[in-house]
Symmetry: C4
Subunit: 293 residues, 4 copies
Amino acid sequence: MTDTGVEPAWRWPEDQWRAAVNTVRAGRSLRPKKWKGGARLAVALAFELDHETLELARGGTSPSGFALGQYGARQGVPRLLRILRKHAVPATFFVPAVSALLHPDESRALVSAGHEIGLHSWCHEGLEGMDQEAERNLIAGARHALEKLAGVAPVGYRAASADFSAHTLSILRDLGILYDASFAADDDPYELLGAGEASGIVEVPCHPVRNDATHFGGASPLSPDAVFEIYRRELEATYDEGGLFAPTFHPHLVGPRSRIWIVDELLKIARTLPGVWFATHTDVALWAKAKGG
Amino acid sequence: MTDTGVEPAWRWPEDQWRAAVNTVRAGRSLRPKKWKGGARLAVALAFELDHETLELARGGTSPSGFALGQYGARQGVPRLLRILRKHAVPATFFVPAVSALLHPDESRALVSAGHEIGLHSWCHEGLEGMDQEAERNLIAGARHALEKLAGVAPVGYRAASADFSAHTLSILRDLGILYDASFAADDDPYELLGAGEASGIVEVPCHPVRNDATHFGGASPLSPDAVFEIYRRELEATYDEGGLFAPTFHPHLVGPRSRIWIVDELLKIARTLPGVWFATHTDVALWAKAKGG
Amino acid sequence: MTDTGVEPAWRWPEDQWRAAVNTVRAGRSLRPKKWKGGARLAVALAFELDHETLELARGGTSPSGFALGQYGARQGVPRLLRILRKHAVPATFFVPAVSALLHPDESRALVSAGHEIGLHSWCHEGLEGMDQEAERNLIAGARHALEKLAGVAPVGYRAASADFSAHTLSILRDLGILYDASFAADDDPYELLGAGEASGIVEVPCHPVRNDATHFGGASPLSPDAVFEIYRRELEATYDEGGLFAPTFHPHLVGPRSRIWIVDELLKIARTLPGVWFATHTDVALWAKAKGG
Amino acid sequence: MTDTGVEPAWRWPEDQWRAAVNTVRAGRSLRPKKWKGGARLAVALAFELDHETLELARGGTSPSGFALGQYGARQGVPRLLRILRKHAVPATFFVPAVSALLHPDESRALVSAGHEIGLHSWCHEGLEGMDQEAERNLIAGARHALEKLAGVAPVGYRAASADFSAHTLSILRDLGILYDASFAADDDPYELLGAGEASGIVEVPCHPVRNDATHFGGASPLSPDAVFEIYRRELEATYDEGGLFAPTFHPHLVGPRSRIWIVDELLKIARTLPGVWFATHTDVALWAKAKGG
């Protein structure tokens, strides 16, 4: 075997595994001493509005799969918006273009409520094996579609498959993207390196432990009480350390009545703590870029 | 690739993914302002009496698989009927025709206790790739068998695979079915659309979060205490919001002595709340059709 | 497709699915009004001493797999024997012949402590697709080996794969077996039917909900506290109803120090209840055969 | 079938399954009456610093996979070192050579803080099917690389795949390795046998129940509270019995803020108990070799 995709790295020469590791990598920390207004904790919520695109991305046409996705749009998002409004907290919504085209009123409602919309693929496509031109066209098309719907061009990106191709970083730079939110190399912001060089792009990390898909998305979902405890511990320990609490939720997963209280309760706790800054991912990225490190 | 079954939708033209999403879809909400008698909460329990058909549906002849199914009939259903009688609560039992033919006394006992029997396939067949004539014959045969056993023709349907084929909706309309209970696009009733057109069929939703197969049916079943907390939260949050609490249980899963108390305890809680209407799925569908939206 | 192993049963004629379901099936209940001495609850513990045979049965030679099995023999069984002695409780150990041959002192220690040894395959072989002569030779060989080691011929059987072949029942009858403990069609004892005919063999059921392999044996083992709650609920609800509490444990699964207390604590609870009969599976089968139904 | 790799052992002659079981096996117990200083409990923490090698070992080049590994190095290890320093507890770090080469400052920091570094493969390679020369070169190369970085040659070994090939034991003996920490045949130290003969190598066992990969590494991670309870029970029961408490953690798994407290809290409990010896794996192996059995 010589294909790096299948040959285990103990057979590779050193420069090959070093190059692989360095393709896209965490660089210097951009964690600031203080967040805006002197806050010790930044809270930046992320929601992925995948809706029907999860079914579509696997080439599926299952009415049952679509219905689960539609649940996110019919019940999940409205419940989340009510909670955000109640606590007066801004958030970032990563939206595949096809989700936005299927639910145009939703995107407009998010923007008019003061939330941020970020790029999240055209139709939840994975990038593995995709050629550069196709990937560039899909991201550019998605940005165009979101800008048209929301009236403002997105400046943040989260890969739908939680992974980059070999081309993604340079495409994002060409598009002038401010930040990415796909990786888990740290809890706090850092600069992305491409082939060992500073990319200028801020990473606002997205760790599986703070992603509800880890806990609710598999074959054996955890109980909501257990999941709440995980997020509560993340929130409180981040407050103690000072840092960024950036959890990710999916409206079709956290949306049910037995789970939606988790988001409400977390914000209730965060609202009682002194010195907390509630921000979008763009706010965090700009602050980290200016004051971090 | 051009087969829509395997090509991911980011390669599809827009009209193709729009058509796929619209094949069977949630239409206008049929959630009423109040339930019958001014109730704020409707409780409509669903039980799926799969029994030996889960093993048969995979073409299996395992005595161990049949025994697990038979457990549902020998211990699960009698325990459930005792609990329903104790709390004087009606319920809907979705019964594959082969289950009913293997356990004819069971179907008669359900009807004589005032419960509803709904369609749930001939022998738990999945519908994917089935031709229209075969599917129509199986559903029609199942309806005939249940009517003969129970003395009344079922008017409700739940797909055994929790999914429709491209033909299911029109078959259900031809059969004069009142409601379907297969989809998860909402918590409360809505109207099913077929290719974007109102179908006249009420959807009484069945969400995985309220289905015991999600929590007990996989390789790592949750503890009964954790599962109870999920249902208790669903019940109480639905009471707070006003709406429909329609959980699904399987007698072979919830039947064991360490789990059966979950159903008992939920009904005990619901019985203490003022303004609760205990109804079959047919009751709910008729009320939603008349007063919902 | 015409092979009954792969064609789903919705294509089968009625006599075919009826015959499949009736091959081995639960017959009349043998639950007695009272257990020996007027007890309301019978407690009959089962342990499966698979040891190295799980690795061998898959044709494996992994030292790591063998070590996990050996853990059952080195730590699991001695801890279990200490707990059984402390509470003066007899139990049934289902032992593959190869386990017994690899650990001959263990079998002798079990017998000298007053416990029962039951058949559990030659080397944890599954029976699917095995021809009748091979299966008969393996079971007869296993009985011979256990009798030689333990000084008494086993009269009980648990299939290693938790399943019968089409020949197993008649082989067990030819061998004069008193009871089987492989199936989950009930919580309490019943008579096994073969092709619809009473077999004379008592079934002492083995339900997955009371098998520690369900909770500890998969990729995501439950916490010991959650598992204890499941068994405690089974025990207490069986006491309330009157019946048989027959849990199954594997020494390599329940043996670790963080889990072994579950067995101790269950027996402590059972010892405090009035009217409990602690019995081997043979004791239960004989009583059920004489007084049940 | 005649290949022992695939033919189930019920078809093997007795000498074949006996030889397979005896290839590498637990021999006499080396559990001492007392640990150093008369302690009843030895606490020996193990950490596996897999970092980017998990992704590399599967021949992968996923930036997302590398980021998860890098998280272990950026956040996991520093947090663990702070906790170890706070409680003044030594530990053993099993480090694949490629991890050490990618993070050379980390290895030096571990050594300068007084911790032990053990062998853990070249690049997390599994050993199944590897020829003897390749395996010998990889282990020897890894030892050389670690010695060069850390200034001291490692004397302990943990297989990356938690398993030995048919050659591993003799390679370890040729290299003069003191102890292995790959197997789960016991909770307390024992001597490894090779083909039934004493090898002189001490086994410091590594049981899945004390490995955070079992609880956090799969598709459905447990809640941190449940995982803590497992370790707390292991620790306290080992203290009661007297013995070795040797848990294994991975910095990328236990590193997040919602989980890292588990290690802190365990050490806090252990620090309050009288008669506890905190030791590296080498300390334990030397004591067991001298005083055990």
